[in-house]
Symmetry: C2
Subunit: 414 residues, 2 copies
């Protein structure tokens, strides 16, 4: 007998028929003798409906009230789910975030979990119930409802798994697992069977949408295996687990991309101590996260400073930078929103030299100019022109043999 | 400056535009220097949507889970309302039933309020907020969500008014107030300006739908004036208040009717001690409320026993009665679902003899046969054939001069 948390997203519980299918799936598993805590999102479409309603009331909806509104969505799915279990003769009880007592900070619409009380869940499990917990929501110490932001139900599921000591946290979704790259871009993309927490963290932060990055961080911290799998099949999906020896033999696990960034270049910046701080402090003060930074020396104590920001923050960042550039006597400010970041990720890079240079070479062979580069121990990211995104992804995916494990381009690795 | 509870029903908050209208109305009142606690229902149509969703999950939805589902409805309206106040530059905070701490018993879907903590509401009022409370919902001591059943938001409003010591509880609705009878049946129906708690209790229990009977009982107990009025005008509506001398000069305040009952007659019941108990105990054990009972003596120690039950319980009641009738050796069981109950209500009856006989006479003059009669100090009810309902209502309304106060049929009274 195992203790398992199973999380189902909004498309899996979009209407009563879909909820019944999930109920049957969970009850089959319970019938094999397992204990299950189910974590649910709101029905697909509900969050958009709420956002629309709120925007009709207030231009920038009050965050505290927005959370009250949003939290009603999971309340609907957990109650319907519990009814569905009972209709099949099973035992079930729903719990909202504040009923579990998932305590968070007061950062409304993007709160962070502080503490979870496992008591009520364990008592319901011990009494033979399927425990149905509303994902995405918590409560402050003052009793105000909060929500955990994007991917919040994944976070709820993994955090619950850690406090109740679950054997695994299963994240059910509408795809078969985590893929070597976006199958819409590259037809030879393959499901990854096993991947490390660190690789998954990189993939999630680089734009792979299947699993929220915070949930992976929690899973890593507490050593909870995550199993990302399809709601619609019984096939094994992708296991996100601790690193083991076998994994290191694979140089690259996945290729990902993001079109959510913009590039800003300040030219002819006087190359004096503290000048970088004068540019980046006001940007950071405005809550804008700078991703990559490159500094190119020029003649005459001048330097060009290039960096990327999220495209949604582009306009604000440009205003700030224009002001700063004038203040410090820099040259003109250039920019582009037509950029993309493509990345390769893999723990094997640590033991295989030349992965980065192979990536640069194959992109260059396709005539793709690399504008910026950033690397970590298990990742190489390149900023390129947006129009080359799909070509770059396919080129890297092929070059590292991800689509067809029998033919990696081994001869080229340093 | 006064402290007022204002309750708005589902049709008043059916969409963002309607909610904004209510926000403006409340803020005009706040602008006059008053403190306001707003109690809201779910958007019109939401409860039906939830009932439909639940019925698709489970034939008889689990009551605990049904309450979790239903309570999400007011969560939507209170958060949107608070946003609306803030959009207008006002201060507001929403509170759900469990956040106020409206403690109820565990009678899911029809829970009764045990205790309300005024602390959080008073603190928000003191800080200058419009306090927006979710109607219809509460929480058990164990932290399970409950709902208060039909008319529950009225109950929330009046109960809150009593614990915070409000000057008045205003119930906003889509009609101008309480009418002397149903305006759809009788064109001369008039709005009642003032009515006593006891009259309102009788009218509510006899079928007038504008105000829930439980809320009137609470208002009476704590002496909270209720003002039933229109959401769409500034006109005075109907004040439900303690009895005063002026009211007794009016013999009849209103005429009401109900088509929700069915009649059952057990003929040739042996007239022995305890036989009534043998019939009515199993009916009561089945949770069926018997309204009126008549016993007609026959020759030979036999009696006919006639009584009424809610039409929704008719089938179950007939099964039970058929069995009992066989057991006790009674004759055949007759019944009719084509009946209606028409009633006249007024505190003045206590001081004006002959009100009942006038009612019987005017109905008889119209050829309407009275099948059953029940009376109280301030009420006379008659069961008649359903097809005569509207005629009977108009006849009684005219006879007691409710449509035109200048011409009561005074000459006929006692």
């Amino acid at each position: 007998m195992s203790l398992v948390v199973q999380k189902f997203g909004g498309t899996s519980v979009a209407d009563p028929e879909k909820i019944k299918n999930v109920v049957d799936r969970v009850l089959r598993f319970v019938g094999q003798g397992h204990q299950v805590v189910v974590v649910l999102s709101a029905m697909a479409g509900e969050t958009n409906r709420f956002v629309d309603l709120a925007s009709r009331m207030q231009k920038i909806p009050d965050p505290r009230e927005m959370d009250v509104l949003l939290a009603s969505g999971e309340q609907v799915t957990v109650s319907l789910f519990a009814m569905g279990v009972k209709a099949r003769g099973g035992k079930a009880g729903s719990l909202l975030g504040d009923q579990v007592r998932i305590t968070t900070d007061a950062g409304h619409t993007k709160a962070r979990i502080r503490e979870i009380d496992p008591g009520r869940i364990m008592a319901l499990l011990a009494a033979g119930n399927v425990v149905v917990v509303a994902g995405f929501q918590g409560v402050t110490e003052n009793g105000d409802l909060t929500t955990l932001g994007r991917g919040g139900s994944d976070t709820t599921a993994v955090a619950l798994a850690s406090v109740i000591g679950a054997d695994v946290c299963e994240i059910f979704t509408d795809v078969d697992g985590v893929f070597t790259t976006d199958p819409n871009v590259c037809a030879s993309a393959k499901k990854i069977d096993r991947i490390t927490y660190d690789e998954m963290l990189e993939l999630a932060s680089l734009g792979a949408k299947v699993l929220d990055i915070r949930s992976v961080g929690i899973a890593k911290k507490y050593g909870i295996p995550i199993h990302v799998r399809s709601t619609f099949t019984d096939n094994d999906g992708t296991w996100v687990v601790r690193e083991d020896g076998e994994m290191e033999s694979r140089m690259v696990s996945g290729v990902t991309y993001s079109k959510n960034e913009a590039r800003i270049t300040v030219s002819r910046v006087p190359d004096t101590p503290g000048v970088a701080s004068r540019i980046f402090t006001p940007i950071s003060d405005a809550g804008i996260v700078v991703d990559m930074i490159i500094q190119n020396a020029r003649a005459g104590d001048m330097t060009d400073m290039t960096f990327t920001v999220p495209r949604t923050d582009y306009d604000r960042a440009m205003e700030i930078v224009a002001e700063v550039a004038a203040d410090i006597g820099a040259g003109k400010v250039g920019s582009s929103t037509n950029i993309a970041k493509v990345s390769i990720v893999g723990v094997g890079m640590r033991n295989h030299a030349g992965v980065a240079s192979t990536a640069f070479r194959v992109l260059s062979d396709e005539g793709i100019n690399i504008r910026m580069i950033s690397t970590s121990e298990i990742k190489v990211s390149c900023v390129i022109e947006e129009k080359y995104t799909e070509l770059a992804v396919r080129t890297l995916h092929d070059a590292f043999g991800l689509g067809d494990e029998a033919q990696p381009v081994e001869e080229d690795w340093g």
